[in-house]
């Protein structure tokens, strides 16, 4: 473990990734102490200071009702990160269980589970989440549900493929020979061997969940105002291009920075842990 961390930190790109993630997570956690305008996360109106370009003290400018853009971005980070973590905490156990069962329990279970997985994967990711949001009210909780529903099949496919390979390994046969239960073999014998791949994918995915969630709210199908959200900030600001460019550029770059950070780290993990697909 220590060795793994040391190798990851020997690569300059992954160090940049760790720094970016640190900035994003740190600013999200410490948002209350960083910004001089913590109330701007909500419905605050300041018409003496609206639509201002970047300057001081509003380093990223202000929005159309005079709220500090930087403040709204770091509070949006907080919500994005919570959403990403919750989605993965729901989707990964579900997908992993389905994948293990499909890979280890007989052909009938496999047929039903993998065909179901395939159905979910046959609807373009964003479109599936959009159609779920279409029938639900656009709230944070429903947004998490919609993204979870579109996310679990990726894990069930990943773990299914890993299980197929692992079940032929000697240690699985050995466990079968001594009469271990199927539950024991799936979750105690096989699952730990899938951890490196699952962990790598989760790191990469935390970025991509943020990306997809921001896409949903960009389309007006996610978190609703006044809750700060990067996607809806871009959507709102896009109407005022090119004059009020900061309204779109900064929230857009904020998404890029967060996702890029997780991707850099995930890439380095993939290389070190040797988990190519």
């Amino acid at each position: 473990m220590k060795r793994t961390i040391r190798i990851i930190l020997a690569n300059p790109l992954s160090v940049i990734g760790v720094i970016l993630i640190g900035l994003v997570v740190g600013s999200a956690i410490l948002a209350d102490f960083i910004t001089p305008f913590p109330t701007h996360r909500g419905t605050v109106v300041d018409f003496t200071n609206f639509n201002q370009p970047p300057g001081w003290p509003n380093i990223m400018g202000t929005d159309l009702v005079g709220r500090d853009l930087f403040t709204r971005i770091i509070y949006a980070y907080r919500i994005s990160l919570i959403l990403g973590i919750v989605v993965l905490l729901l989707a990964v156990p579900l997908g992993v269980t389905v994948g293990l069962m499909a890979g280890y329990l007989g052909p009938r279970v496999r047929f039903v589970l993998m065909r179901t997985t395939e159905v979910f994967l046959s609807i373009p990711p964003l479109v599936l989440a959009m159609s779920i949001m279409g029938v639900l009210e656009p709230t944070l909780i429903n947004g998490m549900m919609a993204v979870t529903v579109m996310w679990w099949p990726w894990y069930s496919r990943l773990v299914y493929n890993l299980t197929l390979a692992e079940r032929e390994e000697g240690y699985v046969l050995a466990a079968e020979v001594i009469g271990a239960s199927r539950f024991h073999i799936m979750f105690v014998e096989i699952l730990p061997n899938c951890f490196p791949a699952i962990l790598t994918k989760m790191t990469l995915d935390l970025g991509f969940v943020i990306l997809i969630a921001s896409s949903l709210s960009f389309l007006g199908l996610g978190v609703q105002p006044p809750t700060p959200d990067l996607g809806s900030m871009v959507a709102e600001g896009a109407r005022y291009l090119p004059d009020s460019w900061w309204l779109t550029v900064f929230p857009g770059l904020a998404i890029l920075v967060a996702v890029f950070g997780f991707n850099l780290l995930g890439d380095a993990m993939r290389e070190v842990l040797g988990t190519h697909q």
Partner: protein, 341 residues
């Protein structure tokens, strides 16, 4: 070639099965809606009689499997119901908006292959060197932002700051082109108007590039990953031991075998683009399915939602079929495999 045909038939069969699955899934999603679909459709001012009448028309009082039966049999006749938003058959709405979206997605797909694959090849050829690291960072940046962010950035840079490209739309309003196919690049050529064709291409470029960027990144990353793995295979060393020139080894020995796994991912990226097109269309005011799709979703127009998702999924399945066919044609192991019972 018999093998390829067999494979194709099997894939078509599986795709149809999956499409049935998709229709069930979408149908279920549309039916778990909290509240009464009939009341939502009619709006708050409808009387109870009107609601009961519409519930009857929509078979909402039958058991759910029977409802699906009605839905499926109408679907088989090419009927997706009427949109409550436009009051027109959903099929007609989709037929009007889909070509613009497909044109955008196809263009982006072409850019993805033409730019992404060569970047991946160069990156793998120079593994570990400066050029490789540069391409890797660019590719990673490409996949790290949603396409609406790229759309905004490209628009600011190349339409406003440097006015090289038009800001929005598919074609200049001066051109009045018959919409025979709905694909402007084809329609302008059909009427022989070359200037209109160039103008349409000009309008297409920025949105298509914004849409393609994450695909380009993905294709480059994947091609690189597959090729560097292929580079460790014995036949590459064999090729080097015979002194074949480096680029020849890259092309004939490393790229072609690794193209096969890359193609699968290109199929998946194509799917992602069908979804992401919604994001790009919104920024560039591209008159495709996006505005329609978002509008019907916000209005809870169930028939239109189901229809849109089904059509997009069908387009995705067809794209995947084409990819599978290409793989079968490229991979001699599939072409010449002994037939197993």
């Amino acid at each position: 070639m018999g093998n390829v045909l067999n494979l194709l038939i099997r894939r078509v069969w599986i795709s149809l099965l999956v499409l049935v699955g998709v229709s069930i899934l979408i149908f279920l999603i549309a039916r778990v809606i909290p509240g009464d679909p009939a009341r939502i459709a009619l709006g708050p001012n409808a009387t109870d009689e009107q609601v009961i009448k519409l519930r009857g028309e929509l078979h909402l009082d039958d058991p759910i499997w029977k409802q699906y039966g009605y839905f499926a049999s109408e679907l088989l006749q090419g009927d997706l119901g009427t949109s409550l938003y436009t009051n027109r058959p959903v099929v007609k709405d989709i037929a009007q908006f889909l070509p613009a979206t497909l044109e955008l997605v196809f263009a982006a797909g072409i850019l993805m292959v033409l730019i992404g694959l060569p970047l991946g090849i160069i990156s793998a050829k120079y593994e570990g060197r400066f050029l490789d690291n540069l391409i890797r960072v660019i590719a990673l940046l490409g996949v790290s932002a949603p396409s609406f962010v790229w759309a905004v950035i490209l628009m600011l840079l190349f339409a406003f700051f440097l006015p090289l490209f038009p800001i929005a739309g598919r074609i200049h309003t001066d051109f009045d082109i018959d919409r025979t196919t709905g694909f402007l690049l084809i329609d302008t050529l059909l009427v022989g108007n070359l200037r209109a064709f160039v103008d349409a291409l000009w309008h297409l470029f920025l949105p298509a590039f914004a849409l393609a960027l994450s695909g380009i990144g993905q294709a480059a990353r994947l091609t690189r990953a597959n090729m560097t793995e292929t580079y460790r295979r014995p036949y590459i060393e064999m090729a080097h031991s015979y002194g074949f020139p480096g680029w020849r080894v890259a092309r004939k020995y490393a790229f072609k075998p690794s193209l096969i796994p890359s193609l699968t991912i290109i199929g998946l990226d194509f799917a992602a683009m069908l979804g992401n097109a919604f994001l790009v269309e919104a920024i560039f005011a591209w008159p495709g399915l996006s505005r329609y799709g978002v509008a019907v979703i916000l209005r809870k127009d169930l028939n239109a939602i189901v229809g849109t998702v089904l059509i997009i999924s069908a387009a995705f399945l067809i794209a995947n079929l084409i990819v599978d066919l290409l793989i079968a044609l490229l991979n001699p192991k599939i072409r010449y495999a002994r037939r197993n019972p």
